[in-house]
Amino acid sequence: MVRSEEATAAPRAKALALAEAFVECSDAVYRFILYRVGRDRTVADELLQDCCHEAVRHKNPPTDPDRFGAWMVGIARNLIRRHWRLRRRDQRNQPLDDPATGVRLLEMLESNEVDPAAATTEATEALMLAVTALAPSEQRLVGGVYFEGRSLEQLADEQRTTAKAIEARLYRIRAKLRKLLRDPTKAGDA
């Protein structure tokens, strides 16, 4: 049976679109995995590649970067579960989305009196689990503003929008973060 040129061009275009979408969300997906496998970079590397194998085997993967990111996080979540299931003996090292730690951190961040600089390691871990559960584009924004200390104007220039729009997005992201700290299962991290 002779295959037409279209038949070979379509898979190539699909592969290219997948690769482009992956470049956009790879950091976010990688950190999502890393903070959930006890920051073991070897395991995270392996799981990220497994995610790509799963993605390429799928018949109709989404190619829109945001949807692709959320979809890859879904794949990653299943692979992480399998990872811990296969390593029952090491499960004591598994970072747990303990609601109590998240709630304590949230109270601290919302309160007037407490100094956040006194936060425990568990609390910062809870923060990172919540941050990495955000969508890739949201993670980039939170990373830029809070972790790298960049100005709203800088980010607005990069994203070709206004500082006001960035501010509004951040407001929504903070509300989402508070929700995630209060209840990590909201991100499907049960």
Binding site: M1, P11, A15, F22, D45, V56, E110, S111, P116, L170
Partner: protein, 395 residues
Amino acid sequence: MNDNDRIDVRFDEHLRTLAARTPVEPGPDPRVMQGCLNILQRPTTPNWRTTVQTYRKPILWSSMGMAAMFALFATSLWPHANPTVHAALVVEKLAKQAAANPLMQLTVENLAMDEVQCTAHLQLGKGGIAGDVNVRVESPDDEMPGTIEVEASIGLGGNNNWILIRRLSVPDPKAQFFLNMFLPPGQETLLVLPADSDIGNEVGAEIEEALQELRSGELIEAFKQLLANHAEVGATATNQPDGTIRLTLPIQDEEAIEAVVNLFHKGEGEEHQDGETPPVAVEKKINKSSKTKSHAAQAHKAIEKHHAKHVEDGAKELIGATVNAVYDPATETVRMLEVLGLGSPNARISLVLSEGDVDANLLDSARVAKPGVRTLDLGAIESIIKSFEGMHDKK
């Protein structure tokens, strides 16, 4: 500023302080990243699961449903060739035959659709499905060109479910090496499916669903109307020595085919609007959130569109094909429906309807397989794995 805004301002300030003293792990190593990109940019190889999912329904429909539907089209044109036989009577007889759960002997020879070539001889009936299947899938992978070839016999009926692999070859030499460990070349291997496997019932449900369409009075009425609008298409009728009448119809009328395809689409849309159970894959996605429901609806639509596309493609392949139907006036039954030249000049699909059930000999693996055939009991293997996992858990 309301309370919520005040909380947000404090949260914002404190988050800045906390984030400033929290180191963030860097992204993936460039080499890992390159590895990932290599994986993603490699064209996909077809795997058997997606191939089966993609072609199961279209093949079932095109071989059973469409042969029957287009033969209805043909038989209903009878009055123009032989006025003594009334078209409506023939259509109704066929619907009656379908309602009586007949034994269907399906023969598919040299059917070629996209990368898949198929030859099959199957019996489908109340007792299950049994017969021989040869499938050849051409790999679209440029790096590893070749074909996946499967020669097998199947017997699915109640608790007696098995697949006899006569030959299985894949283009990937490593995969072939591992396959040879389980399925030695030149030797038949009988895969016995677990007793509680639901595959027989699933296939039964698919057949039942297809028959349900045939039994639908509305569909028959719609077809009659459609035939009235496309009457002159050049059918010929021949009286055969055994008293039967053979109707031959070359499919050339694109407009009529388009009308049939539209009828299919209309029928499918109505079904699901009535709240019929959506496909399992979509059903799993539905939960309480309305947003998810809308995603599920979108996914459902996409699947419907995908199936509709296959029906449409299949229908287009029919242009240039020939439909034959054999009607027995003595018993007032349609004996055989046949489509020739579907997709390739030497392709043939035929459906012979008769009373009775699937041949018990075909359902019996001991009669189909060579004596001393190598057997893999998938149920036993599964229980060994489970007990091993249980031991591991206790430790």
